[in-house]
Symmetry: C2
Subunit: 471 residues, 2 copies
């Protein structure tokens, strides 16, 4: 899917969008916003893909309102794009066919907290930081951390994961059930609160990762975890990315339950030092976090340091102090902004792939050679315990030749991941940016996905133009 | 769904089954078995539901043969029922509309072991004991343990779990991807080997738990784990089931990563003593297993013993010796047979539900009162860390009044679990036995499941009469 392909989609038939907008305006008045600034903010995308504006933005406040909007859009074949806070990276919230952006950020409440059962039911607009702030006094937390302060609805819709997935899994593993409004206005609850069930098809997992194309999530029941007694975070330098990757493989194989284990290559470290004013060794590093009892964390740290040493790395310098840990992870989370220091004035475009862990260092080495050969700037960071890594390309988006070079690189990166039996998108989703690689990755399975989309949303009103290439 | 309802289904229109059988006979000769003994063995079911025989049994040896059989059945609208070893408990392998039982037990090989990536690709007919025996020298194991020596294909199809789910999750969490033959003969691979992916809809989780109604699994890529350095198993008595449940809740809340934590009520303990000749305290007990380093296991055992003591339980007597651990878990796994000692000559029928952990002791107490009130014999065992428990009813299946009383009990039990926001089936699946409760449990979501079934298997040839009530 090149930029040229995406541009061709911008002016398709618009079905009954004008009618739907008029009806919603009549019903909701000023709450249906049509001003260009708000529409632009809802079509934004942190990619080279152009901003594609919806016709109107509706700020929903209740599940009933979501259903009512869907019913109007259903009746008039008007596209409807669910919107959380807009931190997705592959053009998920763009409106290539216009329509209604359904902003869920006002539906941001905790509905039911069940501390004995370690679960909580929330509205989709609550952000992960707000959720954890409200949970703090309970001793519980929600661990999934994609970096951005994303909304939980958006995290579920894109099957987000991030730094803590190596220990706690992804959104796939941590959503017990959802309530969703389907394309025809039916409201379904996919599962009850039991920790496990074998009652029919796993609709929870079908909606998680469906990117708003099968239903609009209006409630989520999430797993919670006890805040660990002891948390230790630290940095361990390595002479090379390969040695760091080897240490990660051995760490996972040894059964050390690392909570986070993040790779930053030498270029990413330079950017973080410059931006975050943090004291780091000037070589590839692993950022590591360990959770458990004091004794268990001490034992894990000792095991990890030994493995790092065997692979030429170290020393492993860690701390259990809150402010030092916070500084380290803030630097990691701010990497997107830090990367901009590598080329002032450029835009940063993050892309990700995921491969079997045993292929990770080969895949990264080939990718670094590819970046150098094609004159790109692209520091690499990765959730290496999962085999997942990101390249952050620093581009002048006005330079068409450069954008084309970046597109060609992303295509090669995606196909390279497939060669290693990996995936073209580990955690950013498909959106518009990765559609072109799904046929290669999934073959006939993509046809099955299309059938499911077709039967559940026959008019293609839910986030059209995402996941699937136009037929 | 009462027995009477199920009996009414036995003689429906048979579509082109005779033609399909004749064509397959022509192609495969003696490998298509039509003798009654073999057919009876493939329709068997450990429930009060009558044995419903297929017209023929085919022992597939390759994925291509599976596809070829499906294509013939697809062309002639002949039912096709995937069969592993037949250890399912809700009538999954019955053939209410006749057709072909597709026995996959000869497809039992490990296809690709990737020790560095902690994954293995297997054929569906391999059993969990055979898999773990073949893995032993690698230091890796597959943890999911439903008790029976089930086939991995069957375990995936029913979303099995069992004693170790509290630590390692269910089949949902441990299948990375599957290859499946769909109803029209298409072969799809749902995911590559990357540990995580956000490339489109989660077809892996859609097929796991679909009970052979959406596709026939021909390969599974499974997660493996390192065999723990230290394993400690032990027994802890409690004065009451409620105190045992309270201890479980606190154990889980404290973050102790128990690998197994099983409840046996006093009646179940008596049965196990009688059958397994094992020395157990004569009161409700928790069977507990702890995994980790020696230091970590010692710490976990100390924490658990303290929590047990606070709840009136103890002493917690554990051992790390292989033969003692094996004896304990053999007794737990043999519980199905042990239960028969409570009423010689009776048949044992296991049913299960799952509720939020905080409701577990209330739900069990009500269930024990219900059993007593209705003159049934039904010891209770449970995977209590997950809120999942089993009632094993000991019935004289020739006694229709008694079978009706048991059915009425199962109905009350299922609806009781729903009142606690739980599920009518925690790990046994729906099959024929639990179909009648899905509407109450899932509401509109059941309609979405039907749409998916309809679009992927429009002729309803894959395991018809399971999960869904006849329309």
């Amino acid at each position: 899917m090149t930029l040229a392909d995406i541009r061709r989609e911008i002016s398709p038939p618009r079905h009954g969008t004008a009618t739907a907008v008029a009806l919603l305006k009549q019903r909701f008045g000023e709450r249906l916003v049509t001003g260009e600034d708000v529409r632009r903010a809802h079509g934004h995308t942190r990619t080279y893909i152009p901003n594609q504006l919806p016709d109107a933005v509706f700020f929903a406040e209740t599940e009933e309102e979501v259903r009512d909007v869907v019913l109007v859009c259903h009746a008039h074949a008007c596209p409807i794009i669910a919107f959380g806070i807009g931190s997705s990276l592959e053009g998920h919230v763009n409106a290539p066919f216009g329509g209604i952006s359904l902003d869920l950020s006002r539906m941001d409440k905790i509905l039911q907290l069940n501390p004995e059962d370690f679960d909580v039911t929330v509205e989709p607009g609550i952000t992960r930081e707000a959720l954890n702030a409200q949970l703090r006094d309970t001793g519980l937390f929600f661990p999934i951390d994609p970096g951005a302060n994303a909304s939980l609805g958006g995290m579920a819709a894109t099957r987000a994961s991030g730094t803590s997935a190596v220990r706690y899994g992804t959104m796939r593993d941590n959503v017990i059930g959802v309530t969703a409004v389907m394309a025809d206005g039916r409201i379904i609850r996919t599962a009850r609160r039991a920790k496990k069930t074998s009652a029919g098809y796993d609709l929870t997992r079908l909606l998680v990762g469906s990117e708003g194309t099968l239903g609009i999530i209006t409630k989520l029941n999430l797993k919670l975890y006890g805040i660990p007694d002891t948390i230790l975070s630290g940095v361990c330098p390595f002479p090379s990315v390969r040695q760091a990757c080897d240490a990660v493989i051995q760490t996972v194989q040894s059964g050390i339950p690392v909570a986070r284990i993040e790779l930053l290559d030498a270029e990413a470290i330079e950017a973080s030092i410059a931006y975050s004013k943090i004291d780091l060794p000037r070589s590839p590093c692993l950022f590591v976090e360990l959770h458990g009892s004091a004794a268990s964390v001490a034992e894990q740290a000792e095991f990890f340091a030994a493995i790092a040493g065997e692979n030429g790395g170290g020393p492993f310098a860690g701390s259990t102090r809150t402010e030092e840990r916070a500084k380290l992870w803030k630097a990691r989370h701010d990497f997107y902004w830090a990367s901009l220091t590598l080329r002032p004035g450029a835009q940063a475009i993050a892309t990700d792939v995921c491969v079997p862990v045993s292929s990770l260092s080969d895949c990264i080495a080939e990718t670094q050679a590819d970046i150098a050969e094609h004159g790109l700037i692209g520091p690499i960071v990765g959730h290496v315990g999962d085999g997942n890594f990101h390249v952050t390309l620093l581009l002048d988006q006005e330079n068409e030749e450069e954008v084309e070079r970046a597109e060609a690189f992303i295509a090669r990166l995606s196909l390279r991941a497939l060669r290693y039996d990996g995936t073209c998108t580990g955690e950013h989703g498909v959106g518009q940016g990765k559609r072109g690689y799904l046929q290669d990755e999934l073959g006939e399975a993509l046809g099955v996905m299309r059938q499911i989309k077709q039967v559940l949303d026959p008019n293609n009103i839910l986030n059209p133009g995402k996941i699937f290439m136009p037929a």
